[in-house]
């Protein structure tokens, strides 16, 4: 029931997204577009909708996995330094190879994100004071340190503005021929679903996992890889989108619990819907201009995040 409703609203939002924009394409023209309209449709609109759906689903699932692996509801790519690490990876690939292709940037971002996530997990396990708000604070500080290092190198090379551009996610630059690496989110999400039970079990702790014959470190590393892949390709394609991996999993968890096998499809759906919604809103509020989606999600997500923290600490 809830699935049927979600799928319908997802399809409606995709439809709306396809027909929102400066270039006037009416819905009744779908099968009779002139060459100009067709060009806009295939080069910009369709890639944008696909990127939104995949990024929304991927980042939400990635957040859920990170929360299981760290056993903390407030850990997500935003609060563990993953986004900053991906940006750092892109920065260094550009500094070292000025003509770096998107593929090279993606690989660099993936390596940096993976390293940062491994380091963060190591810190989580070392922290003795395991309060639910303390660990994400450590993650945010960690992210700020990474961002400071990036800014330093960007400043030295005079590309601070470029770096700041990646800070705020924006789907308006998603174009055919430049966004295809976003499809790598698909295998990451499928992987997450195949290993859903293992991720849930790992969320119960190392000894619990070992009792059931699961190799704890293998599953943690697998999860971190899936998360890093998702985060890095989404940052390379659209830039940093904050809070998504934090609020969507938490809201799904409140309603449907934490059994990933059952909740992952809903998490993916809800993430796509939320991102599409924010994107359409950002494109229409100050039409014909656009509010970057990073800002939209940041504002709406920030409010929901505050609500979550207050609710949890009550």
């Amino acid at each position: 029931m809830i699935y049927a409703g979600s799928i319908v609203s997802l399809l409606v939002l995709i439809w709306v997204s396809l027909f929102t924009g400066v270039k006037d394409i009416a819905m009744r023209d779908v099968f009779a577009m002139n060459s100009d309209q067709l060009l806009v449709f295939t080069i910009a609109r369709i890639p944008r909708a696909i990127a939104l759906v995949l990024t929304g689903a991927g980042l939400s699932v990635a957040g859920f996995i990170m929360q299981q692996l760290s056993q903390n509801k407030f850990v997500s790519p935003t609060t563990a330094g993953s986004l900053e690490a991906a940006k750092m990876g892109i920065l260094f690939s550009i500094l070292l190879i000025p003509q770096a292709s998107i593929g090279m940037k993606s690989v660099a971002a993936l390596l940096f994100t993976l390293a940062a996530n491994l380091l963060f997990m190591l810190m989580v396990r070392r922290v003795r004071f395991r309060s639910s708000v303390f660990i994400p604070l450590v993650g945010i500080m960690f992210g700020n340190i990474l961002a400071a290092v990036s800014t330093f190198f960007a400043f030295k090379h005079g590309i601070v503005q470029n770096v700041q551009e990646w800070m705020i996610g924006d789907f308006s630059s998603v174009l055919q021929g430049q966004y295809e690496s976003i499809y790598l989110i698909l295998p990451a999400v499928v992987l997450a679903y195949i290993y859903a039970d293992q991720f849930t079990i790992v969320g119960m702790g190392a000894s619990f996992a070992k009792n059931l014959g699961i190799s704890y470190s293998t599953i943690v590393n697998l999860g971190l890889f899936a998360v890093s892949l998702t985060v890095s390709v989404s940052v390379v394609t659209a830039g940093a989108i904050p809070f998504l991996g934090l609020i969507v999993p938490n809201m799904v968890s409140m309603m449907m619990g934490d059994n990933l096998r059952r909740t992952l499809p809903m998490t993916a759906l809800a993430g796509s819907i939320f991102l599409l919604f924010c994107d359409i809103l950002g494109r229409t509020i100050i039409f014909p201009y656009e509010i970057p989606i990073g800002l939209m999600v940041g504002v709406i997500g920030g409010i929901i995040f505050l609500f979550l923290i207050l609710r949890r600490n009550r």
Partner: protein, 255 residues
Amino acid sequence: MICFEKITKTYGKRLVLDNISCSLPKGKITSLIGPNGAGKSTLLSIISRLLDADQGKIYLDDICISDYKSGDLAKRLSILRQSNHIDLRLTVRDLVAFGRFPYSKGRLTADDQVQIDKAIHFAQLEDMAHSYIDELSGGQRQRAFIAMIIAQDTDYILLDEPLNNLDMKHAVLVMKTLRRLVDELGKTVVIVIHEINFAAQYSDYIIAMKDGKIVYNDETDQVVQAHTLKEVFGIDFDIITKNGKNICNYFNIET
């Protein structure tokens, strides 16, 4: 039968287990008792492969546990520790279903469903099967974890302080459940336990540890004696015999 030989474990410079050997009889409840820091939990973790010993070997039915595949061992021996993450929102039935993971790898068969129902029934949790574990009381949650171990259907069941933070009613309920596991299903249960009278009433054998060594290993009534307990815990005990079982009092004893 579980045997361990010459187990030694150090944390840094501190010797936690000092070259100990012993065997745990099949089809019985064996309690590990002793003062804090005696090495009970460490020993239990080593037997259940959660922790590696510095030296020594553990045999499960004459095969060294390091020779078992991790997935196969999970069908023979289960371990429940205290430090279970309980922030997770899972229903009791979902949790119990994870006990079938070594068999089903997540794809539950009809037989798995039968086993899950049996385990929930055995632990008397039918009323709460669809409640979330983070909404249960400590005692109910502990029984849910034990139901999961029952669904795992291993011959050997190891529990580290299963009565921690439980009120008397739930503590007795848990011990009775363990007793039934042994008497009705023929399981072998090994527990680390602090409350000496629970060990005295419900276990068949007691292993008393002190400073990383086994000081007594015998039938329950042989270990629950004033002089042995004084040696282990360093305080005086009064032994009362009721219904053929020893109970000990250690409060307000004049010396």
